[in-house]
Subunit: 255 residues, 2 copies
């Protein structure tokens, strides 16, 4: 490698840097729409593909996001989520000075699939409430959620206000308390159904969060699957040495 760098910056990174700088300076603010791809193309005098490479790079970084066929927008600050907390979405979003919203997509009584039955610890074909919800922060859709509830434990559940915290409903109306959750999460791409509801292009990067909830009797009350847009969430938690062992001696964990 010579002293004078032979590498020149690729054009798409020049465009990226320019846009990134303007976003960081606040010239494009959170939620703002960027100029159209063709406008950018003319400003920089490059092919449209090159503009797209720049935009896709910024998307991966989480600086901008795309609404399918609607354009590119500046990404708002991430919401912080503590998986060890039992706060509901409405609570932890509000606590961060943001405005949460919930929307019910569908709710029905179905027969447990093999996947659901295994996790809910019930028989295949057993009664399950299948609930899809959509969640917003400051008006932006951030994830959709699929909840499967062990219906045997919660008669008339579908009559309850299903945009509220389901955990709270279980506690107040059925005396069932959430005492333990198993959580797993990883980056994953958003499928057709999820993408359509989130108004993003199918295949967009997301963040998957799975959750199994247990009540005071060790029963699985519900299993949830959350499909987040990848740039809306930051996970934060604290752990103490040996506490897992300590907790198992206090609660009886059945594994």
């Amino acid at each position: 490698m010579s002293e004078v760098a032979a590498n020149h910056t690729p054009k798409y990174l020049v465009v990226r840097d320019y846009l990134a700088t303007r976003i960081e300076k606040g010239e494009f603010k959170s939620g703002d729409k960027l100029p159209s791809e063709r406008e950018l193309q003319e400003s920089f005098d490059v092919a449209r593909v090159t503009i797209r490479d720049a935009l896709l790079a910024l998307q991966t970084e989480g600086l901008i996001y795309r609404l399918d066929r609607r354009g590119w927008f500046v990404t708002p600050k991430r919401i912080i989520y503590n998986p060890r907390s039992t706060e509901s979405f409405m609570q932890y979003v509000t606590a961060q000075g943001r405005v949460p919203k919930s929307e019910l997509i569908s709710a029905e009584l179905i027969e447990a699939s093999e996947w659901a039955a295994e996790r809910l610890n019930i028989a295949v074909g057993g009664p399950v409430y299948s609930i899809w919800r959509k969640r917003f922060v400051d008006g932006r859709m951030v994830f959709i959620e699929h909840v499967r509830v062990n219906a045997a434990l919660f008669p008339d559940f579908l009559d309850k206000p299903l945009t509220d915290s389901l955990t709270e409903i279980m506690y107040k109306h059925y005396g069932v308390e959430l005492v333990r959750v198993n959580i797993n999460l990883y980056p994953a791409s958003l499928g057709a159904f999820q993408a359509r509801h989130l108004l993003v292009t199918p295949g967009t990067l997301g963040l998957y969060i799975g959750r199994n909830s247990y009540d005071q009797f060790g029963r699985v009350t519900n299993v949830d699957q959350e499909y987040w847009v990848h740039d809306a969430l930051e996970i934060s938690l604290e752990a103490h040495k040996d506490e897992s062992a300590l907790m198992s001696s206090i609660f009886k964990t059945n594994e």
Copy 2:
């Protein structure tokens, strides 16, 4: 929307589906190299850009990954990481029947930057060991790590075997015990330095994990930053209601 779908599947998704199927069937196995882009282009009789769209979609899904200028490979199974466990990388990878490897990139004594000083709770310019390491699973690079150690607490730390667990070194040689960690993580793209070491294209999607470690005296011993490739890791943890409150009453947490 008419009964007979007017939508035909885009070509790049046809290619994606074909490759995804062959991977799922095991015709391409974990770690295998896919045919070159030009070979695929000829097989499908499409433009190379279309092949790339398919490959990029599969990459986002985590089915394949790319080594910069080397080609596309089938992604191995994810490693499961429990952020609440105090197991070291070597331990939790081995426990999952995989082969871990650590490599030291660099280790030096430097002056604390503002960023590091604030987190280590020391003065700006104070002594800090800056350690970069590279981590492998079954021979594949999965993340690089930047560790900053409060040097005042650990004289001659750089003489120790720095590919081993640093936590263990602190305990065995200095009697300093890790009792608490703060962790935060989110998807983020990999910068030039990280990408070069991981042999990926700069801007590739990654998973960022930050960690602050506290000892039995409440001191911050080290702050770590891990830059994972996005498809190598799944986070898994268990939480109990009210345990946070319980733990704070047992340990004194200084916040």
